[in-house]
Every structure is written in C-alpha cells, then in structure tokens.
C-alpha cells in the first residue's frame, strides 16, 4: 500500500515559515487593517458555515430543553398524578354544574319568552336529526296530537329555527333555516327592504332579491317579514355578514349569519296558526263605507 507523505519539502517549509512570520508581524504592526481584510474575505465563508452551525445549535438546544424538562418532571411526577386526579374530579363536578346551569338558563329563557309572547306557542324538545344526508332537519318530540302541523314556524327566544315539513302523531320534522330547500320571507330591519331567506350548502343563509338601490350593509339585522304564513313579523333571522352585488344583476343578495345555531338547538317553540294576523290580514282591505 502506498502511504501518503504529509511531510513538506525543505524549501516549502521555509516559505511557510516566512509567511507565518510576516502574518504575525502584520498583526502586530497593522492589526486593524489586517483584521478588516480577514473579516471581509471570511464573510462569505462564515455565512456558509453559519447554516450547519445554526442547525446543530438548534438540535442541541432542543435536546437540552427536553433533557432539562425530563429531569424537572421526574421530581414532580407524583404531585402531578395527584393533581390530575383532583382536577378530573373537579372537572367532572364542574361539567355537571355547568350542564345544570345551562339547562336552567335555557328553560328560564324559554319560559320568559313564552310568557312575553303569544300564549299559543308549543314548547318541544329536539330528539333527533334527519335520517338522511340530503336535508338539514331536526326531529321534535311533539306532533299532530299536540296541534303541530306542516308549515308552522319553529323558533327559539334567539330567533327563527325553521319550519315544520312533516308530522306524525308524536313527532315533527323541522326543515332548518340553513337548508337550501327552505325559504322564508325576510326583511332588513334598518332599510326595510324585503327578500327571501334561503339556506346555503355551507350551512349559513342567504337573503335574495334585495333591490339594487338598497343601502344594506354587513351588520344589518334581518327579521321575518310576516308576508307568508308560519312566522309573525319581526322575529330575528340573522345578521348580514356579506353583500354580493354582481354586474348586470337585477338584485343584490346578502349572506347571513343565523341568530340560532341549528346544530346546538335543544328546545324550541312552535308557533301555532291563527295566533297572529298574517300581513295580509293585518293590512286587510278597508271596509266599504255604508
């Protein structure tokens, strides 16, 4: 095997020695300038080296952190277990209390609303959801035996939930406001512009057929207009979150954030017919003078 000879020749050794002496003398005689030169020459090199250096430093820091955390944790392991047990117990108690408080709050609000509103509202509980995936509906625990019928409006104290589309003797199916197949007559509270509220495939609602000259803007509240049966005038539907105005379109439309989150509703009120005058009845034709 041929060995590599690292030994310099005599002349080369003399040249290297001379360069070293010059360098030392240079640092002694011109320290500032030489340092600047070396700094300038070494700058790109330093930049290249800094990348792996940072990577290694990062790994090192991470390992150090993990190690210190591990060491620190070892001492408090038993305390931690004890505290966790206590926390689980308290969390469970807290959840039970919260649930009770929420139910009390909901039912109290429902009761209060029922007292304030017309006396012919029927309270019902949500017991299920649509058996298929094509419609967004909820199933109520009241049906025709409680006076519920198709096309009756369903609300909560917060606002409109939807309308009944199907009933059995003891259950009712409510098509939610956010279903694209639902349509409710709506009114922008501030501008008094009317339109049709329709659900969307994204789980929100849209107010369609707003006049082009309307000054509706995000933040405006939309309520029921009472023009069609099921809902009296003035029940909250949602708040405008976006206005869409297309070129050459005859109307504007607005995206609404519904007041009621249909996925979280648990108790509702059904509006029975003949409780409130429809808009037609309310504005009824003037009686002829005798």
């Amino acid at each position: 095997m041929r060995m590599v000879n690292f030994r310099l020749s005599y002349s080369a050794r003399r040249v290297a020695l001379a360069l070293a002496v010059i360098l030392v003398l240079g640092f002694l005689l011109l320290p500032g300038q030489l340092q600047t030169v070396f700094q300038t020459v070494g700058s790109p090199f330093g930049w290249i080296v800094s990348w792996p250096l940072q990577a290694v430093a990062g790994i090192h820091d991470r390992i150090a952190d993990v190690w210190s955390q591990y060491m620190a944790l070892q001492g408090v392991e038993e305390d931690n277990r004890q505290l966790r047990r206590e926390m689980d117990l308290l969390q469970e108690q807290n959840a039970q209390l919260r649930e009770s408080a929420a139910a009390t709050e909901r039912l109290a609000a429902l009761l209060e609303f029922k007292k304030q509103a017309l006396s012919t509202l029927v309270a019902a509980q949500v017991i299920g959801r649509d058996t298929g995936n094509w419609y967004k509906t909820i199933i109520l625990n009241k049906g025709t035996s409680d006076g519920l019928q198709s096309d009756q409006g369903v609300i909560t104290p917060a606002g409109v939930v939807g309308r009944i589309v199907k009933t059995t003797s003891s259950t009712a199916v409510v098509l939610l406001l956010t279903d694209p197949n639902n349509a409710i007559a709506g009114l922008i509270q501030r501008t008094r512009d009317e339109g049709i509220v329709e659900g969307t495939t994204h789980g929100v609602a849209r107010l369609k057929y707003i006049p082009l000259l309307s000054t509706a803007r995000p933040g405006d509240r939309v309520v029921t207009s009472g023009l069609v049966g099921g809902f009296p005038r003035g029940l909250a539907i949602g708040t405008i979150s976006r206005i869409d105005k297309e070129d050459e379109a005859l109307f504007q439309s607005a995206e609404l954030s519904p007041e009621v989150d249909p996925n979280r509703v648990e108790e509702v009120l059904v509006i029975l017919p003949s409780l409130f005058p429809t808009e037609g009845e309310r504005l009824g034709a003037p009686k002829p003078k005798s």
Binding site: D130, N133, W134, Y135, T171, V173, P180, T200
Partner: protein
C-alpha cells in the same frame, strides 16, 4: 319491525353524533342490501320499501322517493345475490360502494333539490363520503355475521 325501529332510531339519534364531515352512513341502505343479498329479491324489495317508508317519516325526504329507492336497492341486491355463488367481504365492500354511489347520484334528481345542490356538489360532499361509510359498515357487519354464523350454508338452504 324491531329491525326497522332500531335502524331509524340509531340513524336519527345516534349517528348524527358520529358523522364524518357532516355525513353519516345510511344504515337502512346497508341493511336492505344485506337482506336482499342473502334473503332474495322479494325480501329485499319488501324490507327496502318498509325501511324507506319508515326513514322518510323522520326526514324531509318524500315517502315515495325514499321507499322506491330503498325497495329498488333491495330488489337489485337480491338479483345480484342470486348470481353470486360465494361472496367475499372485499367483493361485498366494493359492491356496496358502487351501489351506494349509484343511488347517491340518482337521489338528487329524484328529490329535485335546490339548484345550489348540484350534481358535482352532491358527489363530493355527500355521495362519496356516504358510499365509503356504507361500504365500511356493510363489510364490518358481514364480517361479524359470517364469523358467528354459517352464512353460506344458511343462504343455500334458505334460497333452495
């Protein structure tokens, strides 16, 4: 009757809590397919009609389309079952996936849904996820039944 009641209850009360991407499997479809496959055309048709009707009571879907579609699924499953000598779980899963997709693509036309719910939207947001879930549940149920009962023997005796 108990089966239908159980399916409707689970479908409307429990499954919404375990839905994936807002889509839940159709247990009625799975049950009708399995009954049709192993029971025959008539059983599939009758159970399909009954399940479709029962499920439509708790849905905004009209009873006619619900019962007709489920009944047709049961009948087709019965016909398919008669042509197959041995059904492996893999074939069943693929078959359920295909039939569920087919039914899912027909349903929007039958229901005459809103214009927003077009074919493309239906395919990606409902049909494919539901078909996948139906196939998985159908395969699991088949595996459970076949591992506990002599299904092939029962089918051959029952059908003859």
């Amino acid at each position: 009757m108990a089966l239908i009641a159980a399916i409707v209850s689970i479908q409307s009360v429990l499954l919404p809590h375990v839905s994936l991407w807002g889509v839940k499997p159709d247990l009625g479809f799975v049950a009708v397919c399995l009954i049709g496959l192993f029971g025959g055309e008539l059983e599939g048709l009758l159970v399909g009609l009954a399940v479709g009707w029962a499920m439509s009571l708790f849905s905004a879907q009209d009873v006619l389309s619900a019962a007709t579609i489920k009944g047709a699924v049961g009948f087709i499953a019965g016909l398919a079952g008669r042509q197959v000598a041995y059904l492996s779980p893999a074939v069943l899963v693929v078959g359920l996936l295909a039939i569920s997709c087919l039914v899912g693509l027909i349903t929007p036309f039958a229901l005459q849904l809103n214009a927003q719910q077009n074919w493309w939207w239906a395919l990606w947001t409902i049909v494919l996820p539901q078909a996948a879930l139906d196939a998985i549940i159908g395969g699991a149920v088949y595996w459970l039944i076949s591992s506990h009962f002599r299904l092939e023997q029962w089918v051959s005796e029952y059908r003859i």
